[in-house]
Amino acid sequence: MSHSTEQTQLTLVGGRVIDPATGFDQTADVEICNGRIARIGSISKPTGPTFEARGKIVCPGLIDPHVHLREPGQEEKETIATGSAAAVAGGFTSIVCMPNTRPAIDDDGRIEFVYRQAQRANLCRVYPTGAITKNRAGEELAEIGLMAEAGAVAFTDDGDAVASAGVMSKALAYVKMTGRAVMQHCEEPTLVGSGSGGAMNAGPLATRLGLAGRPSVAEELIIQRDVLLNRDIGCKYHVQHLSTAGGVEIIRQARRANMPVTGEVCPHHLLLTENDCATYDTNYKMNPPLRTQRDVDALIQGIADGTLTVLGTDHAPHTREDKELEFSRSPSGILGLECALPLFIKALIQPGVIDWPQLINMMSLAPADLCGLADRGRLIENGDADITVIDPEIDWTIDVNQFKSKSRNCPFHGWDVKGKAIATIVGGVIKYQWADA
């Protein structure tokens, strides 16, 4: 993908430069030249324009391994262009989009379509994942090889689990051939209610509210099943949007046994619980659902001890009309791109669960490695200048009406947060700069 380079020269001056790949963490200048990182160090006389980064964090561009861009087919919710704008506004230089579009992204032509639309938007890098099965129906393998050649960075039927153990076993073996990862939406479909399924976490609260539930065991079963299926295959296997304490433990055991298993956590599963569903506010309807404080604590423990290594948003735009439906009928999911960074800061940095280099690792290097993006998530001299500048001290209030996304479905509207991406640099070009910075 080529990005135009209007600015050929830029020096980020005096920031705290963090590069998790090398363990680099010190005050330094970063010189960008012709879209690439020319030099990291002390630059006494920068040539060309400078960006004042003192007191700020300068790190590899953030990568979101889990977004829904809705194009093609549901452009009323989001497009690749508006999703890209939301991404750079949130500090992301690369995003990985899911194939549950209409039609599903299940062949090489549709992979190419995503790349082409992203190039037209010309904001951030957009990496498509391909469906594991044709039309995400869970029955026949999609053309995984052709999609891999066209640039699919991973394979998933996200939105649904691959329910059949037989199909999943074949998928793991076949995807392994491509070197890519299988990403699984872990949920046993026969346990989550009939029809469109339960609307929230199964348990006493769902019982009280008269809503059908989605039990934790539905997630745990699929994770455990896939770990067993993959035991002798060894494909890169990634658990998307993990929500349960039981799931954390299964991943912990699998990683102890050196299996190639990773787990991803979203902001809402760290900061909200099922109790937020009590007023039937559809902005709290997610899939997997918000669970209990015990699950939240287990996810945080999993992050603290290194069991869970990847942070994602599951950015899921829906229109106002979608979210004004009755709770059971309203679609699941919320916006994530433009508020994820401060929310992760709130959930993980402020309570001291992890430090800045670890957070940046989980939001850049780890997703890059998951998706086989060898030149992303790193600050390398002569590498692409994908850089995010973060002001860790800014106090601000999340306001969905300021979002670049086409949708407004976000329960974090009105939250007071700390920390923000103030400049998002893709290929050496500032694609987003906070007005006050």
């Binding site: 008269g210 809503l211 007023t279 039937y280 004004e324 709770f327």
Partner: protein
């Protein structure tokens, strides 16, 4: 219009513009509705079955789900209070036509209505409606969540049968005052309809009430649980584990899977209809086995307290959850439930319109 004032001397004030569920009502609120209903019950036995309390008000029956008795009951209740009633039946949610539930509600509100009585297949729909409109909303059943007027009429019927509805002299006094108010124009004097809150009336403490059947899918059960426990009764939920989740224990109920074990200690039993239309997949092996294990029949009645009060929200699956000899027998108050539903709904419409 002067709002219903209740008993000023006790400082009680009805303060609800909507009736969405019994969860959000206090014991005092519930007793106040029941006492108000008791004051209005006489209207239905007079030759002219009308009071002018809601003259000039518009009540809309907004039913997204099939209903015969609840809709008729609300229709009659509103008519007896002299309100204009509009029936708005949507075969399915107009979502199918591209209009959201909220849009539909706002369109109806724009016609200038005072109360929307809503029945909907989705839990939380009444709440969503109340958030979308500025008129009063009365929940006539939302999915598997609540059916508060059914809960209230069950409480009323139970208290009446057991002589816990307050003394009869007071009842006739309220009745007379209500009769007097028929001469007044416009708003009724609410205080006269309202009974005295607190006191001994509608106190169910010491009673054990069983609810049998498909508790998981039942909005009637949930409203009954809130109402009964708030008025002091102990609730035992009875049915197979697939229809009675353990989660109900957190609502203060006892959960039991053996009807024969629970039956002897019950003062009243509410036999729920198996709602085949709400059960998505198989939840019990079959009706023959269900009737054997959980049906209320003559043989079982022999093991119950002789004055056990038998209730059923209707419509009855005769021979499945209840045998005809029991449904039509001396312990049954099933038809009184229907009669009392009218007074309870009159009271609810009266109170929500006055609370604005």
């Amino acid at each position: 219009m002067p709002g219903p004032t209740g008993s000023r001397e006790e400082g009680y004030q009805w303060g609800h513009r909507h009736l969405l569920g019994l969860e959000e009502l206090s014991a005092e609120d519930i007793r106040f509705v029941l006492q108000t209903a008791r004051g209005l019950a006489g209207v239905s036995t007079r030759s002219v079955k009308k009071v002018p309390a809601l003259r000039g008000r518009v009540v809309v029956n907004l039913f997204f789900e099939d209903s015969t008795r609840t809709k008729s009951s609300f229709f009659l209740a509103a008519s007896r209070m002299s309100a204009d009633v509009l029936d708005f039946t949507a075969k399915t949610s107009s979502v199918a036509k591209g209009e959201t539930f909220r849009d539909t509600a706002k369109n109806i509100e724009a016609m200038g209505v005072d109360v929307i009585v809503v029945r909907h297949s989705q839990s939380g729909a009444a709440k969503l409606l109340a958030q979308s409109v500025s008129c009063s909303v009365v929940n006539a059943g939302d999915g598997q969540h609540e059916h508060p007027t059914q809960g209230l009429l069950d409480l009323y019927t139970l208290a009446e049968r057991l002589g816990r509805a307050g003394d009869s002299s007071e009842k006739s006094k309220v009745k007379n005052e209500t009769s007097d108010s028929t001469g007044e124009s416009g708003g009724a004097s609410g205080g006269k309809c309202g009974g005295r809150s607190g006191g001994g009336a509608f106190d169910l403490s010491g009673l054990t009430v069983g609810i049998v059947g498909d508790i998981n899918h039942s909005r009637v059960a949930r409203s009954n649980i809130y109402g009964l426990t708030k008025l002091g009764a102990k609730v035992v939920l009875i049915g197979p584990p697939t229809l009675v989740s353990g989660g109900f224990r957190e609502m203060g109920c006892e959960v039991c899977h053996n009807l024969d074990e629970a039956l002897p200690k019950l003062d009243a039993i509410n036999m729920l209809r198996i709602q085949f239309e709400r059960i998505g997949s198989q939840q019990f092996p079959g009706v023959r086995e269900y009737a054997h294990l959980f049906g209320l029949n003559a043989a079982r009645m022999a093991k119950a307290k002789p004055d056990l009060v038998v209730m059923h929200p209707g419509p009855i699956n005769r021979g499945l959850e209840i045998e005809s000899v029991v449904a039509d027998g001396p312990n049954s108050v099933i038809l009184q439930q229907v009669t009392n539903g009218l007074a309870v709904r009159m009271a609810v419409l009266f109170l929500v319109t006055g609370a604005g």
